[in-house]
């Protein structure tokens, strides 16, 4: 329930926002458009008047009518005002105008403004004809009742009943009269003071004053002394049509007052509806404001929907919408462009200024609120998409080309090259389109044929580029995957994935996979055989251990018996040999484990020099009883390596035992520790008792310098030392030189514990 309510709130919020903004836009734009120009502002002002008879247009119309009638009454020309009417006098008196134009040769028309002196009789006759024609033209329009007299003679009138020559009938409450050089005016039955309180004011052409003769500085003149004019204006103008089938103009209408009123009415209703729109729009925005959070949810949802569209399509739509907005500009732009080029050619200033340009533009746009809405909402959706969408530009053609997870230099090079290619293509295309636009604007080229000529190859090459670039990038990606596969094999991962078979590199990948499988098989095989070996040795050693336990135990029991002299010695020998067998069994077990790589090691930083000192101290008894001397050269400062101390102790114990046991009696055994090339190097040297055989791997199992095997060793000492060293990450080498038996053990120095182990620091500090 709550979610449903929330959802409807979201929808409601969004629609009130959308509708509100749309209404405001469509109502405000025309208003702004008319506010931009002088005439627009005037029009607005007049529209706001309570009655059309209060408008400036009406005043203007009535004044000019009076002026014309005065001219007719005085026998002057009537044409002068026809062409100076404002644009709302939509229909000029074509019938009259034609007559006038036909009479051009008379001479008054062309330079009527400069006619000075007394007109000729012919001119007078012409003017009279003119006035007759005009009277003919307008007499059918009963919205204006007029009566023009000179003295007592009625010259022109469209009032049928002579009773009404000086009195308006009902329905005609606005009356303008001229008599004795002064005008009197009543609008809607109320007297209007034209010339101010005392009737002596000056005429100022400000739109407020009536353009009627009788002012101090605008007298009626001598010609009109005897003229009297009566004009009655209908309160509600009606449409009068006057057919003229015998003439060129089959029918025409002459309804300026009617149109004046109609224009005013329609503007008024337009203004009213605009105001209502604006009010509703504002109201909707007031509704939206508290719901703006919910509305943003709708924005998000819309962004989710628009996110599925290719970014390029959105861009195109936006462009189209903006073109709608720009369309009114194109005409102006052409002029502007021509003016600019012209101005440059003439080394003259630009005629059209930017503000003019903008004003024109807004006025143009104001005339098409239908165009502004799609443009506005397209822009809104686009920005909304950018704001809420997840990098929408990635979804589209560019997104298709976007290379994900390219790390290798060769891959980056591929994608960079694709980028450069695309960029150059775009540059060429942009230049071409710019040229085409230029040519079209200047009208110097036939339009569409040329566009097609250039655009089709451009589009074609774009498509080819896209396809090629995509292939390129797929290849680059596959290359990366293949490299990953090879790296995985290199790192010992034998299960990593394959490229699809249809890829260009599919075969190579398959082959790598084959190598992977082969290696995996070989490794599994080897592991299995090693494990079997260890199991064998373990089982055998176990089987040997049980009887050995009995042998040792009974030998011990025998020792406790009081045996006759030679038997006691025999028991001792038995006991010794049983002990040796025990040592051998344990050694075999350990060496086989170490060789299979199963040996667990606990690596930690330790001081190799200290370990050697401890080993020597531990073996002090053996060393003292040996017939040789141990010379040691160990540094006082710590030599830190990372190794397993217990295993390493066994290594050096074996090495020292070896050296002491096989050294020539009376000779010296040397134990040294030094640092060479970032490595700790231990060497144990002794002069062999016997001649050392050449070409023997002393670290192999059961190998001894003395092949007759008469001494106490198991033959496994060096093998154990070697495998333990390797398990700790060191290298053990046996390098005999003549009779000198040299064993070196190398370990890399621990980098973090270069001078002294932290463990020891902590211990000492306490």
């Amino acid at each position: 329930m709550a979610t449903k309510w929330k959802k409807s709130k979201t929808i409601f919020g969004f629609f009130s926002f959308a509708l509100g903004v749309s209404l405001l836009l469509t109502s405000l734009l025309p208003l702004a458009g008319s506010m931009m120009s002088e005439s627009g502002r005037d029009r607005l002002k007049n529209t706001l008047q309570s009655d059309f008879q209060q408008t400036e247009s009406f005043r203007d119309y009535l004044s000019r009518l009076m002026n014309t009638f005065l001219a007719m009454g005085a026998g002057g020309p009537v044409n002068g005002d026809y062409y100076s009417y404002g644009d709302e006098y939509a229909l000029a008196v074509e019938g009259v105008a034609e007559t006038v134009i036909l009479q051009q040769d008379v001479g008054w028309y062309i330079d009527s403004g400069s006619v000075v002196g007394k007109p000729t009789e012919a001119t007078r006759a012409q003017w009279k004809k003119e006035a007759e024609a005009y009277h003919q033209a307008i007499q059918g329009d009963k919205n204006i009742l007029y009566c023009i007299q000179n003295g007592d003679t009625v010259l022109y009138t469209n009032i049928d009943d002579a009773d009404y020559y000086h009195a308006a009938p009902s329905g005609y409450d606005t009356v303008l009269t001229f008599q004795n050089g002064k005008c009197t005016l009543a609008i809607a039955g109320e007297q209007v003071s034209i010339y101010g309180e005392n009737g002596q004011s000056l005429y100022v052409d400000d739109g407020e004053h009536w353009y009627l003769p009788g002012y101090v500085n605008f007298p009626a003149g001598k010609e009109t002394e005897d003229v009297s004019v009566f004009i009655a204006v209908a309160d509600v103008p009606a449409l009068y049509l006057q057919p003229n089938y015998a003439s060129n103009w089959s029918r025409w209408q002459y309804n300026r007052l009617y149109q004046l009123e109609q224009n005013w009415q329609s503007r008024r209703s337009a203004l009213m509806s605009g105001a209502i729109q604006m009010a509703v729009g504002l109201l909707l925005l007031f509704i939206w404001f508290p719901l703006r959070r919910e509305k943003s949810l709708a924005d998000r949802a819309i962004a989710g929907m628009t996110g599925r569209i290719w970014f390029e399509c959105k861009l195109l739509l936006l462009l189209a919408a903006l073109v709608f907005l720009v369309l009114p500009l194109t005409e102006n732009m052409r002029y502007l462009f021509q003016e600019m080029t012209f101005a440059v050619a003439m080394e003259d200033g630009v005629y059209y200024q930017a503000p003019w340009f903008l004003t024109e533009y807004i006025q143009e746009v104001a005339h098409r609120p239908g165009a502004i809405l799609p443009a506005f909402w397209t822009l809104y959706l686009f920005l909304n998409d950018l704001h809420y969408g997840d990098k929408p530009w990635r979804h589209g053609l560019l997104g298709l080309l976007r290379a994900k997870g390219l790390r290798l230099p060769v891959q980056k090079r591929f994608s960079r090259q694709c980028g450069w290619m695309g960029l150059s293509l775009l540059l060429v295309g942009a230049e071409l389109i710019f040229f085409l636009i230029l040519a079209t604007v200047q009208n110097s080229l036939p339009r569409w044929s040329i566009w097609n000529l250039f655009l089709l190859p451009l589009l074609l090459s774009l498509v080819i580029y896209l396809v090629t670039a995509r292939r390129f990038l797929t290849l680059a990606k596959d290359l990366g995957l293949l490299t990953d596969q090879i790296t995985a094999v290199h790192n010992g991962d034998l299960t990593s994935g394959l490229l699809p078979a249809d890829s260009d590199l599919g075969k190579a990948s398959q082959e790598v996979a084959d190598i992977q499988q082969g290696m995996a098989r070989a490794v599994a095989e080897q592991t299995r055989s090693e494990r079997m070996k260890v199991e064998l040795v373990t089982n055998v050693s176990h089987d040997i251990k049980t009887p050995l336990t009995s042998i040792i135990s009974y030998a011990e029991l025998l020792k406790q018996e009081q045996l006759a002299p030679p038997a006691g010695e025999y028991v001792d020998i038995l006991s010794q040999k049983a002990e040796r067998l025990r040592a051998m069994v344990l050694d075999v077990f350990e060496v086989s484990k170490a060789a299979s790589g199963d040996l667990p090691v606990k690596l930690e930083p330790l001081d190799l020099a200290k370990l050697l000192r401890q080993t020597v101290a531990d073996m002090a008894e053996v060393i003292e009883t040996a017939p040789v001397t141990l010379r040691q050269s160990l540094p006082e400062e710590p030599v830190t390596i990372v190794a397993d101390g217990d295993r390493l102790y066994r290594v050096f114990q074996n090495l020292l035992q070896n050296a002491l046991g096989y050294a020539l009696e009376g000779s010296r055994v040397y134990l040294t520790l030094g640092i060479e090339d970032g490595k700790a190097v231990v060497s144990v040297k002794n002069t062999s008792k016997t001649e050392l055989p050449g070409g023997v791997d002393f670290t192999a199992r059961f190998v001894r310098g003395d092949p007759s095997r008469t001494d106490g060793g198991s033959g496994l000492g060096l093998a154990i030392a070697e495998s333990f060293t390797a398990a700790c990450g060191g290298i053990l080498r046996v390098e005999p030189v003549a009779d000198l038996f040299v064993v070196t053990v190398e370990f890399p120095l621990a980098p973090d514990y270069d001078s002294s182990p932290a463990v020891m620091d902590a211990e000492i500090a306490e």
Binding site: S553, V616, A617
Partner: protein, 232 residues
């Protein structure tokens, strides 16, 4: 009445030899040749200790240990030909008190048996005077009187040995470099042969407290770092 010990092994010769060795020390020996038989014999109320082989027919040693543990609280030493560390850990976690790898030294086995029996029989009166002693396995050290007990028996130590024991027992599990031991015990800056000097004393102490001095359980060398008393 002499103390009874149950020896279990499927190898009759081994049982015989162990029995002879123990009888020579004055113990009475019960014999069993597989796990089931061991369960039957283990109900003897006079029984003080069991030696149990692992690999046996019918019921293996570790299962037998578990089932005996359900009913009886007496020291059990596991004998095994398997010398891998995991077997040792498994044996101890099943409820065995000690582990001896085959082939063993008869004397070591006897020493272990004696050690466990001493501790087991002594358990009753131990609780009374547990003041501020340092304890680890079969060792305990009284810092007041500066006496080290192994299986409840006081160990005779020289003055220097006592100082070393005092230092190590009061910091069980902590590793001391030879230099520090030297500085603290001899109260002098370490000289050239520090390692040797310390090691000589360590070895002597081991001979007095360890059952098998060559494979020490308590006083251990941490190779390349120092020495410590194992915390158990």
């Amino acid at each position: 009445m002499s103390e009874k010990i149950l020896v279990v092994d499927d190898d009759k010769e081994i049982v015989g030899a162990v029995a002879l060795l123990l009888e020579a020390e004055g113990y009475e020996v019960l014999r069993a040749y597989d796990g089931m038989e061991a369960l039957d014999k283990a109900v003897d109320p006079g029984l003080r200790l069991i030696l149990m082989d692992v690999m046996m027919p019918r019921l293996d040693g570790l299962s037998a240990v578990m089932r005996i543990r359900e009913r009886r609280n007496l020291p059990i030493i596991v004998l095994s030909a398997k010398s891998e560390d995991t077997d040792k850990v498994l044996g101890l976690s099943m409820g065995a008190d000690d582990y001896v790898a085959k082939p063993f030294h008869p004397q070591e086995l006897v020493a272990r048996v004696k050690s466990h029996l001493r501790r087991y029989t002594r358990l009753g009166d131990v609780n009374a005077v547990q003041s501020a002693r340092y304890e680890t396995g079969r060792l305990s050290y009284d810092p007041e009187s500066r006496v080290l007990y192994a299986d409840g028996e006081p160990v005779k130590l020289t003055a220097t040995e006592t100082k070393i024991v005092d230092l190590l027992m009061s910091h069980l599990g902590r590793i001391f470099p030879a230099e520090e031991i030297y500085r603290r015990v001899w109260d002098a800056e370490s000289a050239y042969a520090t390692e040797n000097t310390v090691m000589v004393h360590i070895r002597r102490i081991r001979e007095k407290i360890e059952l098998e001095p060559k494979e020490p359980e308590y006083l251990k060398v941490v190779w390349g770092i120092g020495y410590k008393m194992e915390k158990k």
